[in-house]
């Protein structure tokens, strides 16, 4: 538990390079302790789950990683670089992307523009080029649009490129949000409750999607989720939080049978029975 990951994951995984190290992360809102002494170490290509009852501090951890909040204490390292104190946009540009619990698209803009906005840091042209409409503007803009369109095609949104994002059905909005996050060219993807509001069949498809993007874009994924079915099925290992602290860690099977996890989710009564 001290080094932030379970011990029985096998030698092959252990040899991979570390992507994300969080150590002793603590965060207070005024006097409310939202996260306390949170540690996790994630290696290249892993698919890790972070679960816990409502208000356990899972989303706060995501917000701390992406610089929305700045941690009161503790360190976050991504590929060896310290993240605490950096502004969000720099963290994202370093290769971390995230989605939101409640979908946050640019809902009055087109599907294509949602993705193109995420390409902005790699636009390759500046204000002067666009104001004077220099050749470089046309070239790079075309290039960027084409990349965005290819990207949408991968996610099956090619025909929807001119639609207003907010008018898409819920499932497609989720998919677009994931596509937009991936358009920032991340190596680490943070998914905040991707299955929220989905029916069992949609969850099946979501699981396939998550596997697909991990292989296709060579990603490491950290996932916050409520839906046990999703977490237990796709995560390689899981960290369980309650009241801001880690209460259990291990493979899905270990976690499922851990008495403290059952207590946190179902109450003490469940164990006694």
């Amino acid at each position: 538990m001290t080094k932030g990951r379970p011990e029985d994951l096998g030698p092959e995984v252990e040899q991979r390079p570390v992507v994300l190290t969080i150590s002793g992360l603590t965060h207070f809102f005024e006097s409310l302790r939202a996260v306390y002494d949170f540690s996790v170490t994630i290696k290249q290509g892993e698919l890790v789950g972070l679960i816990g009852p409502n208000g356990a501090g899972k989303t706060t951890v995501f917000n701390l990683i992406t610089g929305v909040y700045h941690a009161t204490e503790g360190g976050i390292q991504y590929n060896g670089a310290h993240l605490v104190g950096l502004p969000s946009y720099e963290i994202i540009q370093m290769g971390i992307a995230r989605t939101f619990q409640n979908i946050r698209l640019f809902s009055n803009l087109t599907v294509l523009d949602n993705v193109r906005i995420a390409y902005h840091p790699h636009a390759g042209y500046g204000l002067v080029d666009s104001t004077l409409r220099l050749r470089r503007f046309y070239d790079k803009e075309e290039d960027m649009t084409e990349r965005a369109q290819e990207f949408l095609a991968i996610f099956g949104l090619a025909e929807r490129q001119d639609d207003i994002a907010g008018s898409l059905p819920y499932g497609l909005q989720r998919r677009l949000e994931i596509a937009r996050a991936l358009a920032t060219q991340p190596r680490l993807l943070l998914l905040d409750e991707p299955a929220a509001g989905m029916n069992p069949q949609e969850i099946d498809q979501l699981m396939d999607l998550i596997h697909f993007i991990r292989d296709r874009f060579d990603l490491t994924i950290l996932l916050v989720e409520h839906r046990m079915r999703l977490v237990m099925n796709i995560c390689e290992w899981i960290t369980v939080m309650d009241f801001g602290e880690i209460i259990a860690r291990g493979t899905p099977d270990v976690v499922r049978n851990d008495p403290s996890v059952i207590e946190a989710y179902l109450g003490r009564q469940a164990i006694i029975q």
Binding site: V68, Y89, A97, F106, N108, I117, P121, G126, T131, Q161
Partner: protein, 426 residues
């Protein structure tokens, strides 16, 4: 470049040229000793153009970037007084204002560039530090210009302008006066924006309202607190040369529309709109939202400054009362009226505002009606909000100003690729 000339661009350019020529002809052809567009209407058209440019700036800040600002008239005033001072002094054989504004702006921009390069090397620099360094850069830049450049360059410039034909020298000075007013507005908005844009939109609105009030009070005291006796404080500045002509007005407006369109339909422009849509989401797809907000704010203020210069040299008289904070709601009303986020709508509403409300109503309705105008405006606004809250033209744009939708990309490889995914994806 020419192969990229699209139909809509051609129509726009032809239309603009036609408008330019027609108005110019109407301004020169005289019937019974007065031009077809007489001085009264000429003033209204020029005024309409100026207010349109101010409103376009506000539309960039509020309509496209989502920052509720009441500071436009403050920057309008800065542009007006700055450019007026430059030409006022030039007419009286003194180039010092021109040198301080232009030279100081160049020095300040260079120093600010140095400051940003310097601060980039540090980790976690806070806003106040950035602000203080930039203020120092501005003080140093304008101080150097006033202290060192003026004594050296003043006689030189006088000699150069003396050698040029009067008309050319006058045009050059007027150009620099307009640019100077606009750039100074931009620099001040940058300094003001660094700490204030961090506030949320509503607080930002209040802060900019405060800014307008401060500027108005300063203008009331230009001859007492500030060292500009020629501005005559609350009595109003007179003796500004009346140099604004239709080509100046037209090309300023044309330039502003073009710059705004080119800016918005680019990657940077998309980030500006993204900040309006969802600030947090924009930040978390890797956009520097502080930069995006400052950019929109500064460009919007530069437009306001430019409009100020045009208005000052048409009216030839400036009074602080015309820049008070009640007036600063005018561009806000125009922008909301024309449609937030519509360039076409703002241009339309800007001219309609001046020509209908200031012109037609005054001329053709029975006397005494003008006192009712401020009953009519709010009523119209209330009706507008009830019946058509998205503004007169909503998000409509003429084709030239519309963002072109790229054609669909359907390729065979991606198609097959997609088919495989189609089954598995949600």
């Amino acid at each position: 470049m020419w192969q990229r000339l699209r139909g809509s661009t051609a129509y726009f350019l032809i239309g603009a040229l036609a408008l330019f020529v027609i108005v110019q002809v109407f301004l020169t052809v005289e019937i019974q000793g007065t031009p077809i567009i007489n001085n009264y209407w000429r003033g209204l058209i020029f005024w309409g153009a100026a207010i349109t440019i101010v409103s376009l700036g506000l539309n960039l800040i509020y309509g496209f970037n989502g920052q509720f600002s009441l500071g436009q008239y403050g920057f309008y005033a800065i542009g007006a007084y700055t450019s007026a001072d430059i030409t006022y002094r030039y007419v009286r054989g003194d180039n010092s204002a021109l040198i301080v504004v232009i030279g100081g702006s160049i020095l300040t921009l260079l120093l600010m560039w140095g400051v940003s390069a310097f601060l980039k090397r540090f980790y976690g620099v806070n806003t106040i530090t950035v602000f203080v360094f930039n203020v120092l850069a501005a003080v140093l830049g304008f101080g150097l210009a006033a202290g060192i450049l003026v004594p050296i360059a003043n006689p030189m410039l006088s000699a150069i302008f003396g050698a040029l034909p009067t008309g050319v020298a006058q045009s050059v000075v007027f150009l620099f006066a307009l640019v100077g007013g606009a750039v100074l507005s931009g620099i001040i908005s940058f300094l003001f924006g660094i700490p204030v844009l961090e506030l949320g939109s509503d607080y930002f609105g209040i802060a900019t309202l405060g800014f307008t009030i401060i500027i108005k009070v300063l203008l009331d005291n230009t001859d007492t607190i500030l060292p500009f006796p020629e501005m005559k404080g609350a009595r109003g500045m007179v003796g500004i040369p009346q140099w604004t002509t239709w080509p100046w007005v037209f090309f300023s407006l044309f330039l502003v529309v073009l710059v705004m369109r080119n800016l918005l339909h680019s990657s940077t422009g998309r980030t500006i709109v993204a900040v309006r849509e969802d600030e947090r989401a924009a930040e978390l797809v890797g956009i520097d939202i502080a930069r995006s907000k400052i950019l929109a704010f500064v460009i919007g203020s530069v437009f306001a400054g430019l409009a100020g210069g045009i208005r000052a040299h048409d009216l030839a008289f400036l009074h602080p009362q015309s820049f008070n904070f009640i007036q600063s709601f005018n561009p806000m009303i125009i922008v909301v009226f024309g449609g937030l986020g519509s360039i076409t709508g703002t241009v339309f509403a800007g001219f309609a505002w001046i020509i209908l409300l200031e012109g037609v109503l005054r001329l053709y309705l029975p006397g005494g009606f003008e006192t009712w105008r401020f009953v009519v405006y709010p009523l119209v606004l209330i009706l507008m909000m009830l019946l058509r809250p998205e503004g007169l033209l909503g998000q409509y744009e003429i084709p030239f100003l519309r963002q072109r939708l790229p054609g669909m990309l359907i390729r065979n490889e991606t198609q097959t690729d997609e088919l495989a995914v189609e089954e598995v994806v949600i």
